[in-house]
């Protein structure tokens, strides 16, 4: 299977760099997979789980929003925050969600919609963590 170059960078570090078979990205307008030779695209990312497939092995990374760029040089994901599944502190993640729920009251109008949307994304990550993503 053809491979392509993939860089996952967050402001604080280069989280992943190497040749991969496939990357599944949680886009704002729906999930999409990237294989070698994908057409050039720039897509915004919603908070979700990004799956990197190399030689039949899957690696899951939680990204909290960002941007994906596919060019002829490969795929670059600029993640706001990138945490690999192994590193994630579940208790802290749950705490963040609780905090967000709490702060919902302070928002209003369009900001409230954004906050709710973001919270939903976080919750869906949590759900995936506790069910499917576990194996």
């Amino acid at each position: 299977m053809a491979t392509f170059h993939f860089d996952l960078v967050s402001p604080e570090k280069l989280a992943f760099s190497g040749e991969v078979d496939q990357v599944d990205i949680p886009g704002v307008e729906g999930d999409f997979g990237v294989l070698a030779g994908h057409a050039p695209v720039v897509a915004a990312i919603r908070p979700g789980i990004l799956t990197i497939t190399t030689g039949g092995k899957h690696e899951k990374v939680i990204v909290l929003g960002g941007l994906a760029e596919v060019s002829e040089k490969g795929l670059t994901v600029l993640a706001d925050v990138a945490t690999s599944l192994a590193e994630l502190d579940r208790a802290q993640f749950a705490e963040t969600i609780a905090e967000m729920e709490e702060s919902l009251k302070e928002h209003e109008g369009g900001e409230l919609d954004h906050a709710i949307e973001r919270l939903d994304h976080y919750k869906s990550i949590q759900q995936q963590l506790t069910s499917t993503a576990m194996h």
């Binding site: 402001p11 704002v28 050039p40 897509a43 600029l78």
Partner: protein
Amino acid sequence: MASLKDMRVRIASTKATQKITKAMQMVAASKLRRAQTAAEAARPYADKMSAVISNIASAAAGSPGAPALLAGTGRDQVHLLLVCTGERGLSGAFNSSIVRLARERAQSLMAQGKEVKFFCVGRKGYEQLRRLFDKQIVEHLDLRSVRQLGFVNAEDIAKKVLARFDNGEFDVCTLFYSRFRSVIAQIPTAQQVIPLVVEAGAAANTTSYDYEPEEDEILTRLLPRNLAVQIFRALLENNASFYGAQMSAMDNATRNAGEMIRKQTLVYNRTRQAQITKELIEIISGAEAV
């Protein structure tokens, strides 16, 4: 002439100072290594970000609906100078060279009849600028309580700047910081961040991308983020520069203290010998007189 005891005390105190500067130098050296790694780790993101932005921006800049962060407000009357300095001194010319650059820029802008406002990040820069431009400092932020610089700190600053921009408080924003080249070379730098300057070379690279969602929507998401990234990068570069400057300043101080100890010890020994000789002469001439 100082007595022997006074001189002994002075030598001891110089030695104590030398120990402190030596320790500070070593602490700065080890912190520098950490700061340097952090600054280097942040580079790929900032580079990729500006590459993606200039790609999209070069396409969007011409269109009439381009966001204000990219196209500007159409004026350049009010300038905001975002001056990032260190929280502590004892670092040679590090803080003052950033402040000097900002001050010169401010004075030349004011000479052209523009209005200048300051946003100070870091205590030292604030203290120096306050003497000259007290009324023009619109905001000042202390990072002293921050132990490990995180992206959230930069985001926080970016939010404040953006809020002011949205209120129409300024037209052009310039970021001042010290770029880290090596331990002995830190270059005070001014970088215009609002409106964004797209590098001319990048415009030639025209890959036609598909955009998801729409191009301008991505751009409106990306531009504020880019500001935070640039600030974050500036803060990290600054941090590395600070420790670099402190290290060489403390190295100098240690060497100077060594030199001083050598000179003082020489004078001390001479005086001691002169005194012994004098006492001997007194004893001998006393014995001869008898």
